[in-house]
């Protein structure tokens, strides 16, 4: 890495997008979100935090972002399509310090599958490296190499190379460490919308997690995943949401067919840690985030042809997998790789459980949770009888939502 010789004396920097690309397919919102993610890539590796500011009332922000053409009042005129793409000014006291300019005549893209255009996120990460005080690097994996190297992948998962981290931390030190000694991402305020990729963006508004009614909920390696349409949220074991913004289903679960728009149930298989997503009469098996094989029929797990599932969970007390549909459930023996005989049985065995739950999952503590609508029913470890105060509202306890206003409580279901 190379240092420019200047750095910010403060650790909290402000930024604003003053002008947006005129002819790009990217919306202003997407541009803002990509910028925030690009800054976050540097912030998560250092002691720096970034705040987006709104209007130019009073002082301009430290990092002022513009899309400009040709000569634009600095010493680096742009040259149209190709050639120079962008530049940024190193830290300092001058008003232009930290400012970042993109050539408006480039075809700025995000998530382009055909390789057309120039990936705005990749270039923004590079330029913000300059805005923080880094020069160009010759290291092969560095984002600070001067030449455009193509897209760098999902902004939500992007991590700087070691060379870039070393340069940044030389200037600003390391990020405060969590108890797990892992870097964390904190959402910027106000929380921006997730970037919309052209292939998945069309007509799916971001749902409100506080409304509940999830399609599926699963405990995957200690984190609770809440699926709703083509989105999902993740709740860390500490009880903190990874982000209040949902992630896109198909950008995370690699290989999940595009036509699968709803995950009806999900669970992590106890015996091998594989993750199974269910939709319609089929399911898909993932190792980590990668799909293994293709769609499999639910008949493999002992359900009749054409049957679907509302909920699937693995009960640690006996290692068996339970598949719930309506008021009945099947049990599958993972060790023997066959369904147990004598099923389906009536769900009323689980005393107090709601029929047709949105999903069921087992917490890290071993308690079993049934979810339906905006409520949950807890079954203490080793018990198949729900707690007397069930159901409870999900939002405040699980999803960082305000408590429901005092109104009529969710009707209790009759005990079986």
């Amino acid at each position: 890495y190379a240092l420019s010789g200047s750095m910010w004396k403060k650790r909290t920097l402000t930024w604003r997008v003053r002008s947006f690309p005129q002819s790009s397919q990217l919306s202003q919102e997407t541009v803002r979100v990509l910028m925030s993610y690009a800054l976050m890539a540097w912030g998560m590796e250092s002691g720096l935090t970034f705040h987006e500011v709104d209007s130019p009332q009073g002082q301009e922000p430290d990092i002022l972002i513009d899309f400009a053409r040709a000569f634009h009042q600095d010493s680096y005129p742009f040259d149209g399509l190709g050639g120079t793409l962008a530049h940024a000014f190193f830290p300092g006291e001058h008003p232009i310090s930290g400012d970042t300019h993109f050539d408006d005549e480039e075809t700025w893209t995000f998530g382009s599958k055909d390789g057309e255009g120039t990936d705005l996120f990749a270039v923004a990460v590079h330029e913000f490296g300059h805005a923080l005080g880094l020069g160009h690097s010759s290291a092969p994996n560095s984002i600070m190499r001067p030449f455009y190297q193509g897209p760098v992948g999902d902004p939500d998962k992007y991590r700087l190379s070691q060379d870039d981290r070393d340069g940044l931390q030389q200037l600003y030190g390391k990020a405060p460490q969590t108890p797990y000694d892992k870097p964390t991402r904190k959402p910027l305020a106000p929380p921006p919308q997730p970037p919309a990729s052209p292939t998945h963006s069309p007509s799916f508004p971001i749902p409100d997690r506080c409304e509940g009614n999830f399609d599926a909920i699963a405990n995957i390696r200690g984190e609770t995943f809440f699926f709703k349409g083509p989105w999902f949220w993740r709740l860390q074991p500490s009880g903190q949401l990874v982000s209040p913004r949902p992630a896109r289903l198909h950008r995370f679960w690699e290989g999940l067919p595009a036509q699968v728009r709803v995950v009806q149930a999900a669970y992590a298989r106890h015996r091998d840690g594989r993750i199974l997503l269910f939709s319609g009469p089929q399911f898909w098996v993932f190792q980590d985030r990668q799909l293994e094989g293709g769609a499999r029929p639910l008949t493999e797990l002992g359900l009749p042809p054409g049957e679907e599932v509302d909920a699937v969970f693995s009960w640690p007390q006996n290692g068996k997998t339970y598949l719930v549909r309506g008021r009945q459930y099947w049990r599958y023996d993972e060790a023997a790789a066959r369904p147990d005989p004598g099923y389906p049985r009536d769900l009323s065995l689980w005393e107090g459980a709601p029929p047709s739950p949105d999903d069921v999952t087992v917490s890290n503590a071993g308690d079993t949770y049934f979810f339906k609508g905006a409520h949950y029913w807890r079954f203490p470890k080793n018990s198949i009888k729900t707690e007397p105060d069930a159901p409870q509202p999900m939002g405040p306890n699980w999803l960082d939502c305000p408590a429901p206003s005092s109104g009529p409580r969710a009707p209790r279901l009759p005990k079986a």
Partner: protein, 88 residues
């Protein structure tokens, strides 16, 4: 032997190497010719920086790299720094 680079390529090279800090900027008050040695050295530094074989010549790989889309800022900041000091 590799074909001799065209005058256009050499001109592009000098311009590119100057813009991105590998060659000192021309002095505004005097015409300046780059010596072949200085030009070769500058090309070698550029090739090293870009991960290309260090031929010191405007070979096709070097010319192609100079045509790649890139950031406007110079790669070698020392030249700019020297200029600032000289001006002061």
């Amino acid at each position: 032997r590799a074909p001799k680079p065209s005058a256009q390529d050499v001109s592009l090279g000098v311009d590119w190497l100057t813009r991105y800090g590998y060659l000192p900027p021309p002095h505004p008050a005097q015409a300046q010719l780059q010596s072949p040695e200085k030009l070769r050295d500058a090309i070698k530094v550029m090739q090293r920086f870009a991960g290309l074989p260090e031929t010191g010549r405007m070979d096709p790989g070097t010319v192609a790299t100079m045509h790649k889309p890139r950031c406007s800022l110079p790669d070698v900041l020392g030249v700019a720094g020297l200029v600032r000091r000289r001006r002061r």
